[in-house]
């Protein structure tokens, strides 16, 4: 099987061939690519981010992201739940928006939204 590694921008083309009990991995520029390729065949994991609306802040949007990769199949569900939230300022980068969205990964703020001046 062919896998394009997304761990770093080099985007190596990695081939995974089953060999007896295990797998042989070829074309990876580094060891991280081997782990990635094998995980890609069993359970693909991804980080992702969202833009969520915030009330009462100096900006109207907060960027949020997963703190660690989540199962790819869970992304749509997490995104749906997050978009349904009503958030209000202040929010600091690093604040947990939803804890444990999948495994130990939290959805955390990636930007800071301060209270709007005069409120």
């Amino acid at each position: 099987m062919e896998v394009v590694c997304t761990v770093c921008p080099r985007g190596c083309n990695i081939s995974v061939i089953s060999e007896g009990e295990g797998y042989a991995v070829q074309g990876n520029g580094c060891m991280r690519g081997k782990d990635y390729a094998l995980r890609e065949l069993t359970m693909p994991m991804r980080n992702f981010s969202l833009a969520l609306s915030v009330a009462g802040g100096d900006t109207d949007v907060v960027a949020v992201r997963t703190s660690a990769p989540v199962r790819r199949e869970c992304i749509a569900e997490i995104a749906l739940a997050a978009r349904a939230l009503t958030l209000s300022a202040p929010i600091k980068a690093g604040d947990v928006i939803i804890s444990k969205v999948d495994g130990d990964s939290d959805l955390i703020a990636a930007s800071t939204v301060n209270l709007k001046e005069g409120t």
Binding site: V4, P9, L50, D60, S111
Partner: protein, 421 residues
């Protein structure tokens, strides 16, 4: 004019390149560095790039754009570097007088050295001449990115994206994650023009079709808003093939049809531009043809990684500080860098024979090679070579030469960079 101040190094543009240049200039000994930024905040385009994957080289971690910007902003403020926001530079004169406009009015600043880090802009719809309705719902991918990620407006519900540049791919994923449907990404070339990792994690992950050798031939509208686009297959000369047209119903068309260096100030200052990059032409200190004006980041050439734009800007910032501290440099003879087989352009374009220190090359390949060797030659002698797998025009190449290799280039009368198979 209400006053005239003077500074050692002035950086124009407070995005990632500008902040990196300012930090490097400060660290190289220029203590009164000033950053001028026209927006209400620092960080430039990173603020709207909320996807992750930034900073693997520079910060050894995977950050979103706003987090990456925050790190650079913190580094600048730790050093007490003054950054003036809401300040638009209207002109830069060859004598390094900068004219600005802000709430305080019009004022000028004289600088010993200037670093231009003005970034780039998107190729607008007009530049590619799509036929059809002039209705609402046609955006450049970057405008849609700002609408969604900064202003909190959904740019559309059903999208078609024309062009598979990185921003187009990233916006395909963004619109999907925010709850829109992306029908397809159309690319006129036979292959994606963005990074492979973005094709995988932005399109394949979300089952968004990438239709290569396709373009938009008509935009349809209903009630003043896009109601669909007519797509067609193109032949080898990129001309639409009659009879291959089909309708893609949508309410939004996003254009990701290329980025061009922002060179308005540079041109006015008399800075020579490069015919391929569209950005400034620079020597190995990243100085333009105008003494004391340095250029870096996307205004020099469009980068695919923020990390590389920052590393490049560090060189410009450091050299600008040296220039300011030494009261100028005398530039003697130089040798132009020739681009041989497989290389579309390389930065720097000229190597000064009088310079010192290590030279960094960045180059954009012109073709795909499954396996190739990048060679840098001085008078026909190979002084640097590196094997590369999967050379593609979408992926910029970057090489840091050591001092000995760099000195060999400085004494050469012919310099060439090429790909050997």
């Amino acid at each position: 004019m209400i006053n005239c101040e003077s500074r050692s190094v002035v950086v124009i543009g407070g995005g990632p390149a500008g902040l990196s240049a300012a930090i490097a200039a400060f660290d190289a000994g220029a203590k009164d560095v000033l950053v001028l930024e026209r927006d209400t905040r620092l960080g430039g385009i990173l603020n709207q790039c909320i996807h992750n994957g930034f900073g693997l080289t520079l910060f050894k971690s995977e950050l979103t754009g706003p987090e990456y910007a925050a790190r650079l902003i913190d580094m600048a403020s730790e050093r007490g570097i003054e950054c003036r926001l809401n300040t638009t530079v209207v002109s830069v004169a060859p004598d390094k007088t900068i004219t600005c406009v802000s709430e305080e009015g019009v004022f000028s600043i004289t600088a010993d050295a200037i670093v231009l880090t003005c970034g780039c802009r998107e190729r607008p719809r007009g530049a590619i001449g799509i036929a059809g309705a002039r209705c609402a719902g046609v955006y450049t991918a970057g405008t849609a990115q700002k609408l969604v990620n900064i202003m909190g407006y959904m740019a559309g519900r059903e999208c078609v994206i024309l062009g598979s540049g990185d921003i187009g791919l990233i916006m395909a994923r963004r619109m999907t994650l925010q709850g829109a449907k992306v029908r397809a990404v159309l690319e006129i070339m036979p292959r994606a023009s963005g990074l492979m990792r973005n094709v995988v994690q932005c399109l394949n992950d979300y089952d968004i079709p990438l239709m290569t050798s396709h373009t938009v031939v008509d935009v349809l509208s209903q009630g003043g808003r896009v109601s669909g686009v007519v797509a067609a297959k193109v032949d080898n000369d990129m001309r639409p093939i009659a009879g291959s047209e089909f309708l893609l119903p949508c309410d939004t068309l996003l254009l990701s049809v290329g980025l061009i260096p922002e060179t308005e100030l540079a041109r006015e200052a008399g800075i020579g531009l490069h015919r391929v990059t569209g950005g400034a032409e620079v020597d190995d200190t990243l100085m333009s043809n105008i003494d004391g004006i340095f250029c870096a980041g996307n205004m020099l050439h469009v980068h695919d990684l923020a990390d590389y734009a920052c590393l490049e800007s560090e060189v410009a910032g450091k050299r600008a500080a040296e220039y300011a501290i030494n009261g100028g440099v005398t530039r003697g003879a130089f040798t132009s860098v020739e681009c041989g087989d497989g290389i579309r352009y390389a930065v720097p374009m000229k190597i000064l024979s009088s310079g010192s220190g290590s030279i960094t090359f960045t180059a954009r390949p012109s073709a795909e090679y499954a396996l190739g060797r990048i060679c840098i030659e001085a008078d026909g002698e190979e002084i640097y070579s590196k094997r590369e797998a999967g050379i593609r025009p979408a992926t910029m190449l970057r090489y840091v030469l050591n001092s000995a290799q760099s000195d060999k280039l400085r004494s050469a009368s012919r310099i060439c960079i090429k790909v050997r198979e």
